[in-house]
Symmetry: none
Subunit: 204 residues, 4 copies
C-alpha cells in the first residue's frame, strides 16, 4: 500500500505531503458522514476541488485512502500511549493519562475515529490490513496491562477485568458518535468521568 510515486525533491515533496494530508482529511470527513462505500470518488473530487486524475495523484486508490486514515489515527495514538506507560507512575494515574490522551485524540481526529470504528468489514479480513489490526490490538493490550498492573499493585481489584476492558472500549469508541465540537463537556471531563467509573468499579 505504497504512495503512487511521490516526488523526490524536498520542496515538492513537502507540498505533496501537505496536499495529500488535505485530501485524507477531506476524505475522512466524508467517509464519516456517509460511510466509506457510500462515498464516491465523485464526492471526493467535489470536496477537494481536484479532478479525478489529480486526486489519484495523491491517493493511489480509494482503499489506500481508508488505510491512510486509519494509519494517521493509530500511529500517533499508539506512540503517545507507549510514552505514557513507559513512565514510572501508579496504574490508576496512568489510566487517567491514557484516557485523556485517547479522548484528546478523538477530539482532534473525530472523523478518522468514526471511519475507523465503522469500517471494520474492510479492516477485519483482508491480508493488507494486518498492520492496522495489529495497531488496534497493541493499543488494547496497553490498556489491559495498565489495568492488570493495578491489580498486581493491589490498588485495583476488578470483578472481571476482561469485561471491564470491553466496557471501557465500548464507551470510548462510542464517543465520536455523540461528541459535538462545542458541546457541554470538554474531553478532559469525559476522560475523567470514564476514569472514575473504572476506578470505582475497581475499588478494592
Amino acid at each position: 500500500m505504497a504512495d503512487p510515486s511521490p516526488p523526490l525533491r524536498p520542496a515538492l515533496r513537502a507540498r505533496y505531503d501537505r496536499r495529500q494530508h488535505e485530501v485524507v482529511s477531506a476524505a475522512a470527513r466524508l467517509f464519516a458522514e456517509r460511510g466509506y462505500q457510500a462515498t464516491s470518488i465523485g464526492d471526493l473530487t467535489e470536496a477537494t476541488g481536484l479532478a479525478a486524475g489529480g486526486l489519484y495523484h495523491y491517493i493511489g486508490s480509494k482503499e489506500q485512502l481508508l488505510f491512510r486514515i486509519c494509519d494517521e489515527l493509530l500511529e500517533p495514538l499508539l506512540d503517545e500511549a507507549r510514552t505514557i506507560v513507559a513512565r514510572d507512575a501508579a496504574a490508576a494515574e496512568q489510566l487517567r493519562e491514557l484516557l485523556r490522551a485517547w479522548l484528546a485524540h478523538i477530539e482532534r481526529h473525530r472523523f478518522h475515529m468514526l471511519v475507523f470504528a465503522q469500517e471494520r468489514h474492510v479492516i477485519a479480513h483482508d491480508q493488507r490490513w494486518q498492520k492496522v489490526r495489529r495497531q488496534r490490538k497493541d493499543f488494547v493490550q496497553i490498556l489491559d496491562e495498565v489495568l492488570a498492573r493495578g491489580e498486581a499493585e493491589g490498588t485495583l481489584a476488578f470483578a472481571d477485568r476482561r469485561l471491564l476492558l470491553l466496557a471501557l472500549l465500548g464507551m470510548v469508541n462510542y464517543v465520536p458518535q455523540w461528541l459535538r465540537p462545542r458541546g457541554r463537556l470538554a474531553v478532559e471531563q469525559i476522560a475523567d468521568g470514564f476514569c472514575d467509573l473504572i476506578l470505582r468499579a475497581g475499588a478494592p
Copy 2:
C-alpha cells in the same frame, strides 16, 4: 415502506411471512459480515437460494430489507422495555431487568444489532427512517428515565447522569462486536457486570 403486496389468503400469507423472515435473517447475517452497501443482491440470491426476481417478491427493495431488519429488532425490544418499566419496582432493579432483556435481545439478534449499529448513515438523515430513529430515541429515554428515577428516589446519585447514560449505551452497543456464541460469559453475566458498574458509579 410498505410490503410488496403480500398475499391475502391466510395459509399463503403464513408461508409468505415465514419465507420473508428467512430472507431477512439471511440478509442480516450478510449485512453484518460485509456491510449493507458491500452486500449485493447477488450475494443475497446466493445465500437464499432464490433468484433475483424471486427475492424481490419478499423484499420490495434492498433498503426495505434494511428497514425490516431494524424494525424486527427495535419493536420487540421496546415492547419489553415498556413492560418492564410499567411494573412497580425500584429503579436499580428495573435497570438490571432492562439490561438483561437488552442483552438477551442482543444475543438473539446479534446480526440485526450489528447492522443497526453500523448503518447509522442510512438511518440518520432520510425522512423514511424517522420511525426507526424514534424507536431508538424512545429506548434511550426509557433508560434515562430509570436512571433519573433512581436519583429522585435517592437510591442513585450520578456525577453526570447524561455522561453515564452515554457510557452505558457505548458499552452495550459494543457487545455484538465481541460476543461469541459460546463465549466465556453468558449474557446475563454481562448484563449484571454492566449493571454493577452503573450502580457503583451511582452509589450515593
Copy 3:
C-alpha cells in the same frame, strides 16, 4: 475462465449458448477490425444490440471474450488435425489434407484467426492463457510430425525441416490478412499451392 453462471434448464441453456455464440462472433469481427484493446465495450454493445449489463451476462469479462474466440478456433481445428493424422496415409497426402482443413478453417473463422494471430501479447505471458498456448503448440507439433514422417518414409527430404515449418506457419498465418470472401482463389487452391511449394522444397 468460467461462464458467469449459465442457466441450467436445457431450453434456456440452448438459447444462452446461441446468444453467447453470437456475441463472440460479433466480438471477433470487431477485434479483428480494430484490435482487441482498441475495441471498447461500447463498441460491442453497439454491435450486439445488448446493453452493457446484458452483454456481461454472456461474456464474464472482455478478456474471457478473447479467450473464447481463441478456444472456438483452436479446439475444432486441433480435433480435425488429430483425426487426419490418425488415419493411415502417406505423409505428403496427410500434409495436403491438413492444409486443406486448416485453410477451410481460416475461411470459416477468418476473424477469429486474425484476432488470435494479433493478440499474441495477451496470449503470450499470462498464466491463464496456458491452455491456448498449449493448443497452438500441439497443432504445430502435428505439422512437424507429418513432415518428419515424410523424411522417415524417404518421400521427403528437407534442407532444413525446422525452417520449412516456420515458413509454412508464416505463409498460412498471413492468409487471413489478404483473403477476401469472394476472391480470385478458393481456399482449396491456396492450400494446394502452399502444399506444392512444400513438396517441391522437400522433393528428394
Copy 4:
C-alpha cells in the same frame, strides 16, 4: 505528423536527434512486447527515465512515435531495395539480394518490425498513415517486379506468381516472431533458405 519544434542550432539539434532516437527505440521495444495500445506513456517514462513532460519534447504524441517507428523501418529498407533492383543482374540473383537485405533489416530492427506488423489497424485506415501504406506497397511491388522479370527472362515460371508472393510475404513477416538474437540460424541462412524455396517453386 511533424516534429514538435526541434531545436535549430546544430549542436543542440544533434543531441535532440540522438535522444529522440533513443526514445523511439525504447518505444519500439515496449510496443513490440506489449502492443502499442497496451503500452502507456507511464511505461515509456519508466523505460526512458524521462518524465511525461520531457518525453513529449521528443515525441509530439504517442501516435507520432508509432509513425516514426514505421518510418525508421521502411525508409532505409526501401532505399536499399531500390538500389538492388537498379543494378543490372539476373532476377534470381536480385531476389536473393533482396531477401538478404530484408532479413538483415529484420535482424537490426526486430522490434520495429514486430510493431509494424502488429499495428495494422492503426496503419490501415487513417489518412495520416498514407505515406507508410505507400512505402509498404512500393516494397511489395519491387518484389513482385523481380519475380515478374524472372518469368519474362524465362528463368522462372510460377504456377501462380501472386500466390507465391503472398507466401513469401507471410514467411518473412513471420520471422520477427521467432527469430532469437543468438539463434540456430543466421539471417543469411534464413534468407537463402526462403530464396531456395521460391526458386524451386519457380523452377521452369
